[in-house]
């Protein structure tokens, strides 16, 4: 038979886990003694990645690794996933990198990788720095505060989904 205090502490734990889940990977303040959650930089431009956010978080490495082999070894170019396109949208300036004069992927990629203790070799060779003229995916300027644009975009997507237009 469990004591009331045990049940209470269990309930508290559950609540804490749910709260963490809701907080997700965004900006929940670090509890004392915890590793701070990653504070991912907002994209430089674009409102929609090539896949939904949860898919990208789960699978981006698979996408990039498969496509790198196809690009390098088979010569297939211009496919959906591209590290240069990551740079195109997600490279942002940060005071940590080149005094904020350079847009790089560091503020975006490194946050989660450090949190998850993932050590990757990509940036030993790929600089992750934005160079004018690379990347082709997104040309929609980022305006993350512009709720109106997003609402219209969502309405468009919903309408398309319901209309079942299969082009």
């Amino acid at each position: 038979m469990r004591s009331a205090s045990q049940i209470l502490s269990l309930a508290f734990l559950c609540a804490a886990i749910v709260a963490m889940g809701l907080g997700g990977l965004t900006t929940s303040p670090a509890q004392a003694g915890e590793v701070p959650l990653p504070n991912i930089a907002k994209a430089y431009k674009g409102e929609q990645c090539v896949e939904p956010v949860d898919v990208m978080r789960r699978n981006h490495f698979e996408f990039l690794m498969h496509q790198r082999d196809e690009t390098l070894r088979e010569g297939i170019r211009g496919q959906k996933y591209s590290l240069n396109d990551c740079v195109d949208c997600h490279a942002v300036a940060s005071p940590d990198v080149a005094d904020g004069k350079l847009r790089t992927l560091k503020p975006f990629c490194k946050e989660c990788h450090e949190y998850a203790a993932v050590s990757i070799d990509c940036f030993g060779c790929h600089t992750g720095a934005a160079v004018p003229g690379i990347g082709k995916q997104s040309s929609l300027p980022a305006n993350h505060g512009d709720k109106a644009s997003i609402a219209v975009l969502e309405a468009h997507l919903n309408a398309e989904r319901q209309g079942g237009t299969d082009q």
Binding site: E47, Q48, C49, V50, E51, P52, V53, D54, V55, R68, D69, E70, L72, R73, E74, G75, I76, R77, G78, Q79, K80, N84, V87, G124, C125, H126, T127, A129, V131, I134, K136, Q137, S138, S139, L140, K147, A148, S149, I150, V152, L153, E154, A155, H156, L157, N158, E160, R161, T165, D166, Q167
Partner: protein, 257 residues
């Protein structure tokens, strides 16, 4: 990304996104509302490389020597190699990579001289590929020999196997790599025949630099296409390949050595 998109079921979002992207040509503009447009720029997918093509070069070794310096500089600028890309900032001539170099040769009996650029010869039977223990050293279907640096372990076996000494090992940390040519310490590299440009329908940087200088000393093209400039030139002139005795069938031909 806003909350609503994140919480939408994955399949739904996926479908609509696909439809949005499938919708068309190189650049599709969808007008959502007055003043709000969604522009999806999707590059056409090209490739894969096939054996229908065999990329090669014909180098005229009788051309003025200064042109080869131009070719080397063009390569450095395009691919981002040379002392200025060392993190140390210092030149180490014994170990710095050389993707293409100017070589002077002399016949000891007759005294005849020639100066020519030597880079990866893009062999049809590349010994560097034969010896690679990881499969990093590879030949594309269209004959371009490359190093897949993702799986190169830096053993340098290919460098020993190459009869042309055309591969280099990156001994130092490098910086300011070009987006199309990631380079890093501990891997082997060599001339890629500017594969990123070739795939985009352009000529290699060295060839373009010479063309811009008004010279046709290097002709680039498809050796399998009988109507290409290079095929016509190879049919017209007597050409040779360096160390033809090794029977590696390089894609780089020379004349006037």
């Amino acid at each position: 990304m806003n909350e609503k998109t994140m919480s939408t079921p994955e399949t739904d979002v996926d479908t609509s996104r696909r439809n949005l992207l499938k919708g068309g040509a190189a650049a599709a503009v969808v007008t959502l509302a007055p003043g709000v447009t969604l522009r999806t720029v999707e590059a056409a997918v090209t490739g894969p490389a096939t054996s229908a093509q065999r990329w090669g070069m014909l180098i005229d070794a009788t051309a003025p020597e200064h042109l080869w310096d131009l070719a080397v500089e063009a390569c450095k600028a395009e691919q981002g190699w040379g002392p200025e890309y060392n993190t140390s900032g210092k030149a180490n001539p014994l170990t710095d990579p050389q993707w293409i170099r100017k070589v002077s040769v002399k016949d000891p009996k007759t005294g005849a001289k020639a100066t020519l650029p030597v880079m990866c010869q893009h062999c049809a039977k590349p010994p560097c590929v034969d010896v690679c223990p990881t499969g990093a050293s590879m030949k594309r279907a269209d004959g371009i020999v490359l190093v897949d640096k993702h799986i190169c372990i830096g053993c340098r076996y290919c460098m020993m196997a190459c009869p042309y000494s055309c591969r280099s090992f990156v001994h130092e940390d490098v910086k300011n790599q070009r987006p199309h040519m990631p380079r890093g310490k501990g891997t082997v590299e060599s001339c890629t025949l500017c594969v990123h440009r070739v795939d985009a329908g352009q000529k290699p940087a060295c060839v373009e630099a010479l063309n811009n200088a008004g010279s046709n000393a290097i002709i680039f093209g498809d050796l399998n296409d009988p109507n290409s400039d290079i095929s016509r030139a190879v049919a017209k002139h007597v050409t040779q390949r360096i160390r033809a005795d090794l029977d590696l069938e390089p894609g780089v031909h020379y004349r006037g050595i």
